[in-house]
């Protein structure tokens, strides 16, 4: 019977150690072991994007990563998006554009959006819709999300 494995990883810039079973997903480890419940579980099979985190510079579904695979990795989650000075421009524009209702999908959308806009702050609507195709929202109908991302891009270009 395999026991617990010690994993050392960097989460939002902080070295973090945790113990997990090899079968546990990174999402389970974040939520149930480390206690960071910002990343959400929607489908647990890669289809909804609610669990999106940034791992070594790429967005991934944390439900499809094993916690043990995070050994030595840089993981960035929704908890690391706001700073001590306040909300990130993406969060601010999601709020102002009413881009969320129940909010379950929002952490995933924001982590995915951040990766896009940091690389391509002038992404247009087609690019945004394509980039976010792996994030599902059952409430908003997407238009307000896309408008919020366009708006956030403008804010980030303005600095």
């Amino acid at each position: 019977m395999p026991g617990l494995v010690h994993v050392t990883t960097t989460i939002n810039g902080n070295q973090t150690d945790f113990l997990c079973e090899p079968r546990q997903s990174l999402l389970e480890c974040l939520r149930d072991v480390v206690g960071m419940t910002g990343s959400k579980e929607g489908c647990n099979d890669g289809n909804c994007g609610a669990c999106t985190v940034n791992m070594d510079g790429r967005i991934v579904c944390s439900c499809l990563v094993l916690g043990v695979e995070a050994q030595g990795a840089e993981v960035n989650t929704i908890e690391g998006v706001a700073s001590a000075d306040g909300l990130h421009p993406i969060q601010q524009s999601f709020l102002e554009n009413a881009a969320l209702q129940c909010g379950i999908c929002t952490p995933g959308f924001i982590v995915a959006t951040k990766a896009l806009l940091e690389a391509e702050p002038d992404a247009d609507e087609a690019r945004i819709r394509h980039w976010l195709a792996g994030n599902l929202c059952r409430c908003t109908g997407y238009d307000k999300i896309v408008r919020a991302v366009l708006d956030a891009g403008e804010r980030m270009r303005a600095g």
Binding site: P2, D45, G46, R58, L64, V68, G134
Partner: protein
Amino acid sequence: MRAIDYQAPTSLSEAVSIMAANGDRARPLAGGTDVLVQLRGGRREADVVMDTKKIPELNTLNLGDNGLQLGAAVPCYRIYQDSAVAAAYPGLIDAAGMIGSIQIQGRATVGGNLCNAAPSGDTIPPVITLGGEAHINGPNGWRTLPAENFCTGPGRNALENGELLVAIQLPAPAANSGTAYLRFIPRNEMDIAVAGVSSTVQLDASGQTIQSARIALASVGPTPILATAAGDSLAGKAVSDEAIAEAGRLASEAATPITDMRGTIRQRHHLVDVLTRRTLNIAIRRARGEE
């Protein structure tokens, strides 16, 4: 998911011993986008999950005079972000940029797509038409298999117990050649192909005559299908709507689809015809350097 042991070997020989020691109780894990879903859903079982991402030979993406050495653990994004690879193999990029979502492409590999052997695997038809070979290592050493012989049934491949797919080797693209892959899905993204077709053509220097062609099909049989007669029908023919229409008809004949929740037999035959003609036209334009 039931308890598993996790191993992350850092050399090929270590990986092969883990596979040999555990037989079919060991499962390689590349991007995990198939295998973790299957283990969780109980469709596959394993005692040992062996992460292949730390094995150098499986992580190689090397474009050289002999073509592309594509390690079995290289995720899709690395393929399409490499501008030299993208320029040399646009037909592979059509498929690698289509799998799932950006999140999925951050993990999913062409090697995993091939080993998973789903009839709908999007990268398999272009790997076949490009003349890809599977480089395999196991307890009995190395062997090589043409990509079209790798998948043996839905979810089944030609690997023997203890064997690993190490890399997919694509030959260097011939002069005046082009490849394209298209699939039909009822949405824009995030769906499984109702039908998919890849075409590779090689033209003569004038760009007017087809010297050879290969056409491969997804989601219209128990495995991806190399439609040999359809490809061969184009050899030596001048580029024309008639020749392309004939190839479309022959490709459709090579399909052995079923009716399921995604589509009917009749619709799939029709889709193969249409997608064959479309991919041939794109492949010809690419061969001429027009796109």
